[in-house]
């Protein structure tokens, strides 16, 4: 059968992207396995394999299944969530500096957590941790909805949205600082512990919730991927293609808010991945959202998965918080990428 001329051209553009996705998935699987095999207990390769398949001492099984596995899985899920959130925020705001936290979600989550920890709000000790996550989640959603309501008046202007986001961050930072001010030593320590991004505290239930939210939001975005691609052409161009840009912005903000709020309330604030993963994805995979969305998610997942492994090995005997690692490893790499990319254009 004769290949149609349009398809011939198009497959030139697309086939590369398919390979990139396959490559990224393989890389993630490898990094996931490495992550499972690395840890302070110093299990050997064989011991770990036995522990994974249940044919081992109970201790080794607990180490692999209850400690390493949740971290390894949540690294991938949180990374993907940040990648997707960052990708769509950058898309609808047409701003390369946008991230899932642009609308003040992480500051609001911190405040929500601080409120419970420092004011010692408690239903029963058993529910304390759930309450902290819940409060963090609610305040993130509250922040997004405030921006939502405020922006309505300004016709969902991109600049206004970003400004409100900055205002919201400052507001919640200030409120959190105030709470820290009246906090006693132990609570302060608890809060500091909560606020830095850390994957070790995520449990299986939270992983399941994050997974479901991630899949649902990803599917919704994926179904809209052509529309989202059109938005990158600019507001008026998208409008002329029949896309209600304001409505688009509205739904994307809600969905990113839910996704980021879930990840922040479970894993704390992990900076940098949400900004950088979409950039890297765009550099290697182009702007077509059918691929960009997936590649952003995969790059984010890979970054966090690798960072999680580094966090366990960089300083022997100490688990470095993952947010610190993403910045330390990621920023030089990112600068290198920018230089490569810009250099190649000239």
């Amino acid at each position: 059968m004769q290949l149609s001329p349009g398809k011939a051209l198009y497959s030139n553009i697309v086939s590369k992207k398919k390979y990139i996705i396959v490559f990224l998935i393989i890389a993630i699987v490898i990094s996931f396995i490495v992550n499972l095999f690395v840890g302070s207990a110093g299990l050997t390769l064989v011991e770990t394999i036995n522990a994974i398949f249940g044919d081992s001492s109970k201790i080794n099984r607990v180490i692999v299944w209850s400690i390493r596995m949740p971290v390894a899985i949540s690294a991938i899920l949180v990374g993907a969530a940040l990648g997707i959130g960052g990708c769509e925020m950058q898309t609808i705001l047409n701003n390369p500096m946008a991230s899932p936290y642009t609308l003040g979600i992480s500051s609001a989550a911190s405040f929500g957590a601080a409120l419970v920890i420092i004011l010692r709000i408690s239903i029963s000790p058993f529910f304390d941790n759930i309450l902290i996550s819940l409060s963090a989640f609610c305040f993130s959603i509250l922040a997004s909805f405030s921006i939502f309501t405020l922006s309505k008046r300004f016709g969902w202007d991109r600049g206004v949205l970003i400004l409100f986001g900055i205002a919201m961050s400052f507001l919640f930072n200030a409120l959190t600082t105030f709470l820290q001010f009246i906090a006693d030593q132990n609570d302060l320590q608890s809060f500091i512990f909560w606020s830095f991004g850390d994957l070790t505290k995520i449990n299986w239930t939270q992983i399941l919730i994050l997974f479901i939210v991630l899949i649902v939001i990803y599917t919704l975005f994926f179904k809209k991927s052509w529309h989202l691609t059109a938005v990158t052409l600019g507001d008026s161009a998208a409008l002329s293609l029949g896309i209600d840009v304001k409505k688009m912005r509205r739904t994307v903000i809600i969905m990113v808010a839910i996704l980021s709020a879930t990840s922040v309330s479970f894993a704390g604030t992990i900076g940098f991945v949400g900004i950088v993963a979409p950039h890297i994805a765009r550099m290697i995979g182009g702007e077509d959202q059918r691929f960009l969305l997936s590649i952003s998610a995969l790059v984010g997942a890979l970054m966090l998965s690798v960072a999680s492994t580094f966090g366990k090995t960089l300083v022997p005997g100490v688990i470095l918080p993952i947010g610190l690692v993403t910045s330390m490893v990621g920023i030089p790499f990112f600068i290198y990428l920018i230089l490569q990319h810009r250099g190649g254009m000239k």
């Binding site: 149609s4 001329p5 349009g6 398809k7 051209l9 198009y10 030139n12 553009i13 047409n94 994926f222 991927s225 052509w226 529309h227 691609t229 059109a230 990158t232 052409l233 600019g234 008026s236 161009a237 409008l239 002329s240 293609l241 029949g242 896309i243 209600d244 765009r282 182009g286 702007e287 077509d288 059918r290 254009m345």
Partner: protein, 263 residues
């Protein structure tokens, strides 16, 4: 086709840009002309419903304000003034986006061939995989036009599409438009600055002045010395070529310019 009834719009209260405008765009190639800031672009935005106007816009006999963007986009395409934003989409992908309403995960061969044909028509095939942010202004315009053409709506609204195009490209563009009208039965409403291009190609010219309809009709009825003076404020004369097409030669401004005092 599309017509307006008593259209009123102002960006600020009590400062109307369009003043009770009633226009019927019933020809194949309707061209709106008029001096700067007379409300040409605003009129197009109202036709497409981006702005909240008073009065009515009818598509045949249907009130257009009752439709949402997606439905309107199936009837007509609106090509705004200015360039698309910088994006790293390739030309091929950008043109394909014109089909956004009917695209699904798997792009069909037919859709891809349509893109191929349009790129071919617009002479964009050799640079199909260039990224938008690597293009010149003129190339970007061609890509946007290609994107609009691929949608095959019943009506295409274009806001100064010849900006950034050299003379040859301008003429080529209108030849393309003419052929589209002939073969695809698509109608056009185009805002233009160049009166001579308008008279050569338009079936109907609408002259706007200060938010009001100054005149409306076939080029030879509309274009005259009095209009030039009233609307554009220039003294000029009319010339006819061998095809009986009227051309305007503007000679001097009505206003005297005395930058350094009277000579």
């Amino acid at each position: 086709m599309i017509r307006t009834e008593n259209l009123v719009f102002g960006y600020h209260k009590h400062v109307p840009v369009l003043k009770e405008l009633s226009v019927d765009f019933d020809a194949d190639l309707n061209v709106i002309i008029g001096p700067n800031a007379c409300g040409k672009s605003t009129l197009l935005k109202c036709l497409f419903g981006i702005l909240n106007y008073e009065g009515k816009v009818f598509w045949n006999n249907q009130d257009l304000s009752k439709l949402d963007f997606e439905e309107k986009a199936q009837l007509m395409a609106y090509l705004p003034q200015g360039d698309v934003e910088n994006t790293s989409l390739t030309i091929f992908e950008t043109v394909l986006l014109g089909k956004v309403a009917s695209l699904s995960w798997k792009v069909t061969d037919d859709q891809l061939d349509e893109v191929y044909n349009v790129l071919n028509t617009m002479n964009l095939l050799p640079i199909y995989d260039k990224k938008i942010n690597e293009l010149s202004g003129g190339q970007k315009k061609l890509v946007t036009i290609a994107q609009t053409l691929i949608r095959e709506p019943e009506l295409i609204i274009m806001d100064e599409p010849t900006n950034n195009l050299d003379i040859q490209k301008q003429l080529e563009l209108f030849d393309i438009i003419r052929q589209i009208i002939k073969h695809k039965k698509i109608k056009f409403i185009i805002v233009l600055h160049d009166i001579n291009v308008s008279t050569r190609y338009a079936d109907k010219i609408i002259v706007l002045n200060d938010g009001k309809k100054y005149a409306c009709g076939q080029p030879e009825e509309i274009i005259n010395v009095a209009m030039l003076k009233d609307v554009y404020g220039v003294h000029g004369k009319l010339v006819k070529d061998q095809n009986d097409t009227t051309f305007v030669v503007a000679e001097s401004s009505v206003n005297e310019i005395n930058l350094f005092g009277k000579e």
